[in-house]
């Protein structure tokens, strides 16, 4: 797929990117084009013996789903990623491990203070198996329905049992999409995704980056996949072969959501709860962007793939349509004030592939029913620190980039009861004493190697 783009003079010059097709056969699936299966399981396995771990992996390899488009959807998909401790447990030698980036080597738990994972979100409060160094291999299974999923899970269990004590499951999570792709706060989630050049997927307007000419263009693949040129024109820093090509880094983060807190807070806040909820997020519940329709949701926009994500912020510098601190405006600032037409936001995009988990809270309930529900947040990027971590530390847990000082993201920031958001307007609405609507229950940093690298990793130790 050739890249057509307008080249305004201030865009970074680069050596002409090869009109590279992504090697879909070597990439694992779900990265370039998301799976649409509604149910899935995330199984974290601990490897106690490298040789046994490799034999197990070799047995799984034929089932690993790659990125080639399929004519007929498989019953289920299977993919593998590895923490740093997992690579070590599989016998990858020290000098190769040393070539991985520092944040990956440290792991998410060790970086809790940086990420703002303190108090209720601190690793000491995380669910067992996450953040302790025991999560080595993440096996993700997706399927069309529970029956198929359980069959795939049973097959996986057989392979684990065959390895005996050498392998154990330290953490597992079932996920299941809610109706209409909504999240537990009632919002259509996952609408905005970066368009990747060479993916073969038809990008929607707004998915990519601003091309300086009023339109959009896809991002260079190296922003998300190692071994391809990125938006700076070079190759992203990568570990040694075979991880240097067709790999991506994964951030896995279990985010428990508290819709009952959201409902009671909005009920007691000044104004229409539906309007306030939209102001927190930046979209109406049906996905209509506030920028496109500030007064009310509009199905003509939300049902139209060409319009649901096609908007920009430069005409709303004061946040009157979409508050400057709203969630989607923070997570993807586009051409908001201070980001210079996207030049300072383009290199901080992430591909999100999360899924909801847990039963929906019935309408109207405002008390905690004790159920565990939320979002398994998962994102892909070529550089965890520049992409996920920067968004988390600079744009979510802080507000200064948007001119709102210490105010955190209203939806997912760690508020501890004293959070604040000013909804700009004439007059403005001040939302004070925001509680935390989300609690981090655990997470890991992983690498998702290409197929060649998986075969290398599964080869018997010499």
């Amino acid at each position: 797929m050739t890249r057509r783009d307008a080249r305004p003079s201030l865009l970074p010059r680069r050596r002409l990117v090869r009109a590279t097709e992504l090697e879909l056969g070597d990439l694992q699936g779900n990265l370039v084009r998301g799976y649409t299966f509604p149910v899935g399981r995330y199984i974290f396995v601990r490897v106690a013996d490298a040789a046994a771990g490799r034999r197990w992996m070799a047995g799984l390899l034929p089932s690993v789903t790659n990125a080639e488009p399929w004519d007929e959807a498989p019953d289920s998909t299977l993919n593998l990623s590895f923490t740093h401790d997992g690579l070590a447990a599989l016998g990858v030698d020290r000098s190769l491990l040393a070539g991985f980036p520092e944040e990956f080597r440290q792991g998410m738990a060790a970086r809790a203070e940086l990420l703002g994972d303190v108090g209720d979100n601190a690793p000491s409060n995380w669910e067992p198996g996450l953040g302790t160094g025991d999560a080595h291999v993440l096996v993700t299974l997706y399927a069309e329905d529970h029956a198929r999923l359980e069959r795939a899970r049973a097959r996986l269990q057989e392979s684990l049992d065959a390895a005996g004590e050498a392998l154990s499951v330290v953490h597992e999570q079932l996920s299941e999409s809610l109706d209409e792709g909504r999240d537990h706060f009632g919002f259509k989630d996952g609408i905005a995704q970066p368009a990747l050049a060479g993916s073969g997927a038809e990008p929607r307007p707004g998915d990519g980056m601003l091309n300086g000419d009023g339109g959009w263009r896809a991002l260079a693949p190296g922003e998300f996949v190692l071994g391809y040129h990125d938006e700076d024109g070079g190759l992203p820093l990568a570990p040694a072969p075979p991880f240097d090509r067709n790999s991506t880094y994964v951030v896995y983060r279990k985010m428990q959501m508290h819709p009952e807190r959201m409902r009671s807070y909005l009920r007691d806040a000044p104004g229409d709860p539906n309007v306030l909820a939209a102001k927190l997020v930046g979209r109406w519940q049906d996905g209509t962007p506030l920028i496109s329709s500030p007064e009310r949701p509009d199905p003509a926009i939300s049902n139209d793939p060409a319009r649901v994500n096609d908007f920009r912020y430069h005409e709303d510098p004061d946040g009157l349509a979409c508050p400057v601190g709203a969630h989607i405006r923070r997570a993807n600032p586009r051409d908001a004030d201070g980001f210079f037409d996207g030049k300072l936001s383009d290199r901080h995009r992430i591909i999100r592939r999360g899924r909801a988990y847990g039963p929906a809270l019935p309408d109207g309930v405002v008390e905690d029913d004790g159920a565990d529900r939320g979002l398994v947040f998962k994102c892909y990027q070529a550089d965890i620190e520049r992409q996920f971590e920067m968004i988390q530390t600079l744009w979510i847990e802080d507000g200064d980039s948007f001119g709102v000082g210490d105010d955190k993201d209203p939806l997912i920031g760690l508020h501890a009861g004293g959070g604040r958001m000013i909804v700009q307007g004439r007059p403005p609405t001040v939302l004070a004493k925001l509680p935390a609507f989300v609690t981090v229950r655990g997470g890991e940093y992983l690498i998702r190697p290409g197929m060649r690298a998986l075969r290398w990793l599964a080869a018997p130790l010499r």
């Binding site: 201030l10 203070e113 940086l114 703002g116 024109g233 004061d318 030049k343 200064d400 007059p427």
Partner: protein, 194 residues
Amino acid sequence: MAVETLSPLAEKPSGGNVAGRARCLTLLTPVRPFWVPFLWFVMRGARYHTYFRNHSLQFKFIYYVRWAVFRDFSESERKRYTYLLFESNFDIPWRQYIDAFAYVIPKDIRVIWGRGFAFPGPPPAEPLKRWIAMNSLEGGHYHSAYPEASVKMTMSALEARKRCNRLAKEAKGLSPAQFRKAFDAAVGDLQRHL
């Protein structure tokens, strides 16, 4: 490079160039002989126009920045080359700081440093970051008089104080109900500055 791995809100000090939200980057690099007079002229002339000033301050993350040019390190030590000392105090991680200059005003960077030896780019930004990491002077001690405040917070604070002083003046002789209205008007004016 031990500059920043702490979030802006970290309590404990780190290295010699982080204080709350404030970070300091100091570079000392040689200037090619033929470029020295031009550089001196460009710098001294910057006071008389708004080009450099607007370009640097448009990002709203610089507290104080300076450039000094000299060859004499002491009375008894004059170097072969003239050196450019650059010190910038800013409030975002240094990599994002360089991105801003490299992607938005690369020409300015090339004018000041471009005639240095082996100076890379920009654009692109990554080789420039490596060059800066190589040249960044580390360690030492750093202090900010208002470490909890970013540049934008400071600018907003100055604005808030002005507006509140005005409100205080108005408030004399207002009934409580009238004051509430005047207060709400001030809140509307300051909604981007709190």
